[in-house]
């Protein structure tokens, strides 16, 4: 009875109202983050801000539903592999610039293969691809940090000692 009235918002999740609303809102936040990443070469934003927004949607899920629910959805090894995949894609675009274009990190798609028209979605060469790689990397990294930080804090009843720390 004491645990039910305590309404802890640690690793166990929150009340029914918060769970219902956040399960609708998290999809909108995720979609908005993807929009900011993809349109980074046309409107303000870019890979870094969009990646943080996508990580924010997973943080909302973790705060509202508890840590174990998110761990089934996107576990720790999968997130770290996505992080490494994003960094590898970014380096791959740079090396492809050297192989296909002549200098390291040149915009080889815009100058040789696929110019596109300005102000369209498919334009500016490798800039949208770099945005996607950076967005993936930043989202997975920030999700990893907040997830491992939330393991470290346990549900606390004040007055009980915790493993020798104060």
């Amino acid at each position: 009875m004491a645990e039910k009235e305590k309404n802890s918002n640690g690793v166990k999740g929150m009340t029914v109202i918060v769970k219902t609303i956040s399960s609708w809102v998290k999809v909108l936040i995720f979609l908005f983050g993807i929009y900011i990443i993809l349109f980074g070469h046309l409107t303000p934003g870019g890979g870094f801000a969009g990646g943080v927004i996508v990580a924010g949607s997973y943080v909302l899920l973790m705060l509202a539903f508890g840590r174990e629910f998110v761990e089934e959805n996107l576990s720790l090894p999968v997130a770290s592999r996505l992080d490494c995949l994003g960094a590898f894609l970014f380096a791959l675009i740079a090396i492809l610039g050297l192989a296909l274009g002549g200098s390291f990190f040149v915009n080889f798609l815009y100058q040789k293969y696929l110019p596109g028209e300005a102000l369209n979605l498919i334009s500016a060469g490798t800039i949208p691809l770099s945005n996607i790689a950076i967005g993936l990397k930043v989202a997975a990294s920030l999700f990893l940090v907040i997830f491992t930080l939330s393991i470290c804090c346990k549900d606390f009843k004040p007055g009980t000692p915790v493993n020798g720390k104060e």
Binding site: G10, I36, G40, H41, L42, T43, P44, G45, G46, F48, A49, V52, I53, A55, G56, V59, L63, L76, S80, D83, A87, F90, A91, A94, F104, F105, N107, Y110, P115, G116, A118, L119, S123, A124, G125, T126, I127, S130, N131, I134, K137, V138, S141, L142, L144, V145, I146, T148, L149, S150, I151, C152, C153, K154, F156, P158, N163
Partner: protein, 200 residues
Amino acid sequence: MAIFYTLLLFMIIAAIIAVETKNLLSAVICVGAIGFGGSLMFLFLRAPDIAITQIVVEVLGLIILIRATISRDLTFITGDREFFGTVVSVVIIFVIFLAGVKILETKPVEEIQEIRKSQPQFVTLPDFGTAIFDVAPEAASQTYISQGLEKTGAANLVASVILDFRAYDTLGEATVLFTAIIGATVILRRKSRKLLEDAD
């Protein structure tokens, strides 16, 4: 100009409260208020990319801070201040204040361009909010503004600078972020695994 001084006063008051209070939750909320004031200031200085990034990182950083401190039931800070630390910080603040008073004598852009014709280095800074390369028309940024759309095809000039003209710096920044996250995750995973084993 009045909006900048109001936001500056707001951020200074929030910083003083964040340092002086003994309740950790108030300190964390004041740190969030500083970040919010900074984001508003970037918006009024017409830099929307930085404003978006600042507000989102500040919100997420606030959640990280609360997770790392409040949930562990450390809600009060106790302890005295050292004398030597106080003296050193007062001296540093005084030196920066002297430099700030020197910077505050700003001149409009036309006067600075006249001064630059006779002597090529700066004598003082332009007014707050001027693009600093307005006073130096031979700088590289004028090339970015005038030829950025033709050379890269991107409508957002900030994205064309950080991902095409200066992409090497972005590679360095992505490497720094990657290394920091790997280091933090390795240390935190070992500690949390030990905590979970002790609890079972």
